[in-house]
Amino acid sequence: MRSSASAIGRRLYAAQAAAAQKTEAVQASLQKEQPKISKLANGIQVVSVENFSPVSKVVVVYNAGARFESSQNLGVTHALRNAGALATKDTSFFGNVRNLESFGASLSATGTREHLIYTLDVLRNNFDAAMPFLASVVTAPVFNQWELDAAANRLKVNLAHYEQSACMRVMETVHAAAYRDTLGRSLYSPAYMVGRHDAAAMADHWGRYCTPGRLAVVGLGVSHASLIDHVSHRFTAAAGGASADATTARFGGGEIRELTGAPLAHAAVVAEGAAVTSARDVVALALLQKLLGAGPTIKYGATATTLTSSLAKVATGPFAASAVNASYTDSGVFGFYVVGQPADMAALLRAGMEEVRSLAKNGVTDQQLQQVKQQLAAAVLMEEEDANEYAICLATQALHSGDLISSNDVLAAIAAATAADVAAAAKRIVTGKLAMSAVGDLRNTPYLDELV
């Protein structure tokens, strides 16, 4: 018995070794490929990276996010991403679900302030079978009112989660305080609008913003020719309707405070950061963000960043702090976020402001600069390892510049940044208009005018 078992064991090892040799031979013949980009005649940007993964990923990005909502249809993009796989001109809701399930595919809809994003993951062998369903979902939705009514319950669940998350509420309200409209529009629908996003409102937003000229399709693990073939044949139903709104975001500044029954206080203070178009500022602020602290680099580890260590001197209880940095096509926010004991908040926020001011005044040392450059370079490369992040990053580049920036160029830009760049970025932050939001127990959280 024993000998036969070990014989099987040996046999299996041998088979594994043979298989390993085989894969090595295959791997040797697969060349690493760079992203390819093409613009179709109707304006759709198609990007693909053949990474030879057994799972293909297709990310469809419309330049149609929350910033394009008006005060009449607030939350319509939340309702749209919630209506992700509903009936289309060619397929039913039921058909979408059952067919995609049978292909081993997964379809999700997400959204940012600027973009509406549909992601399809599917086994490579079933890519051709699943693409027609993705194409129908993203180009020919019909918005049946009875399906929207049924889906509205999910909006309520989303909103209940949102209410519970002080962190999300701070980020949403600090954008609202900073920009008012455009980038200030929340990713979440106001509660009073749930059920009011009717078929006509959805179709109106869709017709204005989900048009071929505002669409990028990114494929990972697909061949460029095959992706172009599918997109040019199947993404034809995308309509061009009423005119799109193109208001530029304006950083107005201000503050929003929300008292809740939570035991802690959360607050963020931001100034206008960098738009994605100004590459030099983006790099400088990303370095500044790493310097101030962007969360622990070791899981459950402490952060020994300048922001945390200066706040630790004044804190009497547990707290957390990190820099906030977000860039959009025409503006951005940069600042810091503090969670602390309600009684500590005045001291914590003043210490945070003082830290940024002293960085702007004294600049950074060479040693600090080298350290954050390495952290930033690693973060950029690690982001490329995350297929979702990478695909969305490629899509936004294709949508807004029609071109792709290679990671080598990004690394070169990081290497070229100087201490003066970082200090100049910090100076712009401390001299600019500020926006603030605070959520939680705000008994000792100062107002914005008490901070500056």
Binding site: S92, F94, G95, R98, N144, Q145, W146
Partner: protein, 109 residues
């Protein structure tokens, strides 16, 4: 061939018109789609109607019940006719039937 098919359809229309006025529901102000037997499919299709179409349907039905209770009919100028009868439920009903057949196809796999 074309003439004969046109002739057939004219005959059908004529027959339809006669059957419609003979059926009697039009004298109570009902439309054809108000009188469908309430199967699960019809119930689902009715649920999907836009609000104002649903309200009009309910008005016609309650008016018909009231008239029927009084053993009365509407004055002739208020009868629905073959020409102004709208098959308002048909697109919704067809959608439901198609979805159901798609479901049973998947369930038989």
């Amino acid at each position: 061939m074309a003439v004969s098919s046109a002739g057939r359809s004219a005959l059908r229309t004529m027959l339809g018109r006669w059957a419609y006025s003979f059926s009697g529901f039009n004298q109570l102000g009902l439309m054809h789609d108000d009188c469908l037997r309430e199967t699960d499919e019809v119930k689902e299709a009715v649920r999907r109607l836009p609000d104002h179409v649903y309200d009009e349907r309910m008005f016609r039905i309650s008016r018909a019940l009231y008239l029927s209770m009084k053993k009365d009919i509407l004055p002739k100028e208020e009868w629905t006719t073959y020409d102004n009868d709208v098959k308002y439920l048909r697109p919704y009903l067809e959608g439901v039937i198609q979805e159901n057949s798609e479901k049973s196809l998947w369930n038989s796999k």
